[in-house]
Amino acid sequence: MTRFLFHELSEREREAFEERFFADGDFFYELADLENELVDRYALGKMSAAESSRFEKGLQKSPERRTQIANSVALSKFIAEQKSVDVQPTLWEKIAGFFTVQKNLFQYATAALMVLLMVGVGYLLYERARVANELARLQNEQNERDGEIERQENALQEQIKQAQEREQNLQPELENKKGQTEILNKQIEGEKNEKLKLERELEILRKEKAKSPVEKPKEPQPPSPIIATLLPYSGGKGGGDDTKVIRIKPSIEKIKLNLRIPTESTAETFDAKLNGENIANGLKPFQSKSGNRFLAVNLPTKNLDETEHAVTLTGNGEAVRYFFRLLR
């Protein structure tokens, strides 16, 4: 079509083309529409350099197209004018414009409000996300605490269960103890009754005693000490009759030794030793009816075993020894 409109077809091709658009109405209007479009684009300077060159060459053979271009320019101008006139406000439009300004102010305010709203919404979304995170964290902590509490609760329940089992196990023992306690209580009660009974009897006896005095029983006397007379040692050690054997009961706690002072001794006082240990000093002898002098020495029996013991008297530079054994 463009080649036809630019006169670039041969005579034969042009004739064939003419026959075609005479036969086909749609094709004809398509061609006419394309021509108008080319003219308008050329008139408005919207063609490329190559297309403009082709168009201008075609103008040589289509002088009428110059008028078409002039008409296209006029039509474009008119359309532009018409659009600007449409834009020019009438009185009413000016009045309406006043309100449009207000409307614009309102729109700006609305826009500002929208911006604020968006910022606010953004902040709220951010805050919501933060709170959600915090909530999730707290929830986790709560879950952990709940878990810990549950574990502790389970442990306690286990302990309670064990305690209950022990209680169940101890229950028969407790019942047994209770039985024993009851028996003991009964015994205590019986003892109390017995005590009261004895106290009453004692009271009766005291009353009877007050009526008729009873002979005071003698206090038990400790066993009398054994008195043994020992003669001084005259010969060899451990010899026969020189060791006095004294038989005593086990209950005898003391023995009294009457030591006969040799006649040739002139000392008035003596010191006494038992098995070499000093037991008394400055002892004075007594004189018997027969004229012999004796010195009495008391000895506790608890430290004296059944071996031979020696008592030594020294006085006025002289020493006399006496030997004895205890047999229990």
Binding site: G25, A32, K61, E64, A70
Partner: protein, 188 residues
């Protein structure tokens, strides 16, 4: 020049379509094709109208002579070629064909923009008294809108209750009529 009788014209219309209205529409379309064809051959618009009428008169005269014509459109284009050749022979000064040298300089255009614009305004009122036609031609050829929105013409067709093809046909017809009016106005 053929003399068109009323009988011959009626016979032509009858051959175009039995229905008078449709026949008239087909006659107008055939005439438009002839005018454009002459213009595309290099004929001036004013002469193209005369040549188109001459073509139609001859076709009608032939049909009135009971010459059998199978296809009126094909026959009309054949007749128009003879007429165009005759016209070129008689009016050498209008023959813009291969005889003329190629001009490489920028072409000259009619220098009456204000007059043309003024004529256009008056012609718009004459050619498009109907508001829809007015909106149609201004909307269809609004280059800015077409550049901005490739669906502009489709939207316009929807707005006017037309198919896009019908919109295109009506726009072309209106533009031809408008340009003819403007050209005549400028000459006056």
């Amino acid at each position: 020049m053929a003399i068109l009788t009323a009988t011959a014209f009626a016979f032509l219309l009858e051959r175009l379509d039995a229905d008078e209205n449709k026949a008239a529409a087909k006659y107008e379309e055939l005439r438009l094709k002839l005018v454009k064809c002459f213009v595309w051959r290099g004929c001036a618009a004013a002469n193209a109208d005369k040549l188109a009428d001459e073509t139609l008169d001859r076709v009608a005269a032939k049909l009135a002579q009971t010459v059998e014509v199978q296809n009126i459109n094909a026959y009309a284009v054949e007749v128009s070629r003879y007429i165009w050749l005759e016209f070129k022979r008689k009016h050498k000064e209008y023959a813009f064909g291969d005889e003329l040298p190629i001009i490489t300089d920028a072409p000259e255009f009619p220098d009456e923009p204000d007059t043309r614009l003024s004529c256009l305004k008056s012609c718009l009122a004459e050619v498009t008294p109907d508001t829809n036609d007015h909106l149609l031609i201004l909307g269809y050829y609004d280059a800015d809108e077409n550049d901005k929105n490739k669906h502009h013409r489709k939207n316009l067709a929807d707005k006017l209750g037309l198919t896009i093809n019908t919109l295109k046909v009506k726009a072309c017809r209106l533009r031809v009529r408008l340009e003819k009016c403007i050209n005549e106005c400028v000459k006056k």
